[in-house]
Symmetry: C2
Subunit: 282 residues, 2 copies
């Protein structure tokens, strides 16, 4: 496994691998890898000749009051986990090379980015689509792997790839959960054991929403209100949103139909967690 | 020479040519080709194994009051000129394929795009960087050719390519002029013979500014005022701007030094024309 820090070296390696007819799978991460990331990595290793994993905590997707500085980092542990999975290249660029002085260009999806997480994190998705575009140009992959846990992110990246005609296949992978159902997240590290218990309300509420829909409920506002009640009943939880949206437009649905995403964001103590499920509703 | 309309076919051809180790040169145009375009094409043919020329009048770079509908088009003539120059592929996509329903993604350089032409054409460069990004992903070139006549556009595209780590060489080509000095432009077609005469004031004023600098003048505001006076003396001309800017920041310079661009935009009758010269000032 080779560790690459220089952007141009990464591009050169990718050009050479592609010229040698190797397919390149890419898993962009912010490091502090958990089982969710590793499932993406295993799938990429499985489906491609060459696998590149990037580890880069991207400053432009954090708000000024958010946890960029404290975001957990542990490169040595990440490298050993990736080595075990037979990753070929770990791309680990420096912030000052990714965003040099005078940097001024942004990629923005202008629909679906001001709802859900975009409402409380106004420039978050602009930062995400910008860094993902940049990483795609640095790594030049054939396929890129994203987890459904960041559901809105995945849908926005798919829109970006389609809109900008990027010649890359976006592969969506299921959310990996801890025992009890809590979605894996690097931010789970912030939780006390009491909070970890309380955080289960998120997944439990999503499961309830699924069962209501299964039982025939199609009124989006009713389910939204019921989800909000569930979360408010947990004293350690503060709700950010509980929404049922179309996966095509990311807009909330009054009548539930078609490909939908049920999504929740809530603070457990001071830690913001998100989770979602995807359903096809007829 | 093959004419390609489908985006995916263009990508497939480019992938195949690249896999066969052919270098791809790309000249993006809005058609209605003149000698300026053809010089870019000749250079691309000269420097690459394969040359792709796109002909696409891009709606997103025109303002609501601008000449998108009337912009001159003559595909048959364009094709015959390109055939003569031994172009390999003409890429001629349909507007509804380039911007399908639900389209929402834009690429934007946030510095240097609100000055000069960006001041009177507020979304122009956002449209330009978006379509150029898209065309780069459709054609996947090794080199792309742009004329210095659209000087601000060229500098902004260079910034975008650098910022987004696009693996493409941007080749700048000198402005081609008609006898008398008028910069070639598809919009020159709009000019009456009287206006064509009057339009010479633009190039003449740029040449005067150069000679003032050559004689030792370094006060940007003095030269700016003098350029404005020159243009105002032409009854058929209405000035949009006359500016001396840094080529690095595109900001106006009080003290002239370093790599600069002297740029003018003016209406001759109702036709908006632009021109510029580049100098290195010590």
């Amino acid at each position: 496994m080779e560790i690459i820090k220089e952007i141009e070296k990464m591009q050169q390696i990718s050009r050479e691998e592609a010229a040698a007819k190797k397919s390149i799978g890419f898993v962009p991460t912010m490091g502090y890898l958990h089982e969710g990331h590793l499932k993406l990595v295993e799938k990429a290793v499985d489906e491609n000749d060459i696998t590149v994993v990037s580890v880069f905590v991207n400053p432009t997707q954090f708000g000024p009051e958010e946890d960029y500085d404290e975001y957990p980092r542990d490169l040595e542990r990440d490298l050993s986990l990736l080595r075990e999975r037979k990753v070929d290249y770990v791309f680990y660029p420096a912030v000052e090379d990714v965003y040099p002085e005078g940097y001024a260009t942004y990629v923005q999806v202008e629909k679906g980015t001001d709802v859900l997480c975009g409402r409380s994190r106004p420039n978050h998705f602009k930062g995400v689509t910008t860094i993902v575009s940049k990483l795609f140009n640095m790594v030049i992959p054939h396929r890129a792997y994203f987890g459904k846990k960041d559901g809105q992110q995945l849908l926005i990246i798919r829109q970006m790839v389609r809109d900008l005609n990027m010649d890359i296949e976006i592969v969506a992978c299921p959310t990996v959960r801890e025992e009890g159902g809590l979605a894996m997240s690097s931010r789970n590290k912030y939780l006390s054991s009491k909070e970890r218990e309380a955080a289960l309300v998120i997944n439990r509420t999503l499961e309830k929403a699924c069962s209501w829909i299964e039982e025939g409920e199609r009124d989006g506002w009713e389910i939204k209100k019921a989800m909000e009640r569930e979360i408010k009943a947990e004293p350690l939880a503060t709700i950010d949103y509980a929404s049922i949206v179309s996966r095509e437009t990311l807009q909330e649905l009054g009548v539930i139909k078609g490909p939908i995403m049920i999504a929740i964001a809530a603070y457990i103590g001071s830690t913001r967690l998100i989770d979602n499920v995807w359903l096809e509703v007829t």
